[in-house]
Amino acid sequence: MPTTVELSCRDVELKYGNSGCKCVHYRRLFAPGYCDGFSVSEHSPGMVEDDETLYRFLLPEHLTDGPLAIRPDAFRAVEALGLSVFRERHVPLRELGDRARMYAKRRGVPLSDLSLAMARCGDVRAITLSGDKSYSVYDTASEHSPAHADVCRALTFPLGTPNQRVHFKTLHRELARVFTVERGFLG
């Protein structure tokens, strides 16, 4: 029953949302991409649509100097914690400067160090490995963060599949490629 499934996706978020390993549980309990089709948070304005723009701030440690600015392992959080992004549609861009300032302050870095990364949600969800859907985007909003979402690796391999980390490493690179970066965007 769809209602039961929807509650189950929400249950995962409710139970493991703050555990530091929510992506592991989504992968364990659902087929890749299944929970993309449901809202997982009661505080969310709704599931993340493919045509939404996602954004995230980046530190110098996430970037290299080439045109593919984001380092392949910069989005490692997709493995367990969940890669935090904001849904532009639900966060006015006029607040971006305030958010950037808060982000920099929390990490003790100058505002000029921050870069801005943006991607279309559909590009993230379209990443595949041998034809299999690789990433999910969940509307992991909280009461005070309604536009928050998480990107998680959704693809799994059967137990005992060799070289899994090799495949995941290439997937991390694929994810980095779909984000557009503006370095030092407030500098």
Partner: protein, 193 residues
């Protein structure tokens, strides 16, 4: 778990609006306005560019990488040393609440691996992930290769070939002893760069 949840708020929520505003305490009004205006301008431009794309983003990235100028060996060496020296200075939480500092064992293995580099293989770009693992990578658009050191004396690596942004072949291995040198499956493609 969000590492940026502190900053989001419901539209019009005076309580959280206060926390966002509070981050500006040490700035004057002119500076606040300048940052807000610039952030909005950049974000709107980026969003417009993304929405205006008529080709897959991977294809665009591939072209940019293929056209990018290469750094000299000397420049790469300086970059590598500068980055590897900086990693141990990063504190727990450097990349969000759960981010680990650089693992000394991983860094040791990375440096040892680098010291065994065949002379005809170009120097890599360094990277550090939020699990504290040091790695290296090369990316020309047509070829991506990445190596990660977990700090137990081994590494894993991946090599991917691309054509017009689409993957055409993948190779790699796990649990490779650092002291055994660079695997042929890694060195072969890199020698052609």
């Amino acid at each position: 778990m969000s590492d940026i949840s502190y900053s989001a708020r419901a539209a019009g929520s005076p309580q959280l609006s206060g926390s966002l505003e509070g981050s500006w305490q040490e700035h004057d009004a002119g500076e606040i306005d300048r940052v807000r205006a610039k952030a909005q301008l950049v974000a709107e431009r980026m969003k417009s560019e993304i929405e205006a794309r008529t080709r897959p983003v991977q294809e665009i990235t591939h072209e940019l990488l293929a056209r990018a100028p290469r750094r000299t060996e000397s420049e790469m060496r300086d970059l590598l040393e500068s980055e590897l020296s900086r990693y141990p200075t990063l504190q727990r939480g450097w990349d969000g609440e759960f981010a680990k500092p650089a693992s000394p064992d991983s860094l040791r293995d990375a440096r040892r691996f680098l010291s065994l580099r065949p002379a005809d293989v170009p120097l890599p770009h360094p990277e550090l992930n939020s699990d504290g693992e040091t790695g290296f990578f090369w990316d020309t658009g047509d070829l991506f290769a990445g190596v990660t050191f977990e700090g137990d004396g081994t590494f894993y690596f991946a090599v991917c070939h691309y054509s017009r942004g689409k993957e055409t072949a993948r190779d790699g291995a796990e649990d490779c002893p650092v002291g055994s040198g660079w695997p042929d499956a890694l060195v072969g493609p890199l020698r052609k760069l």
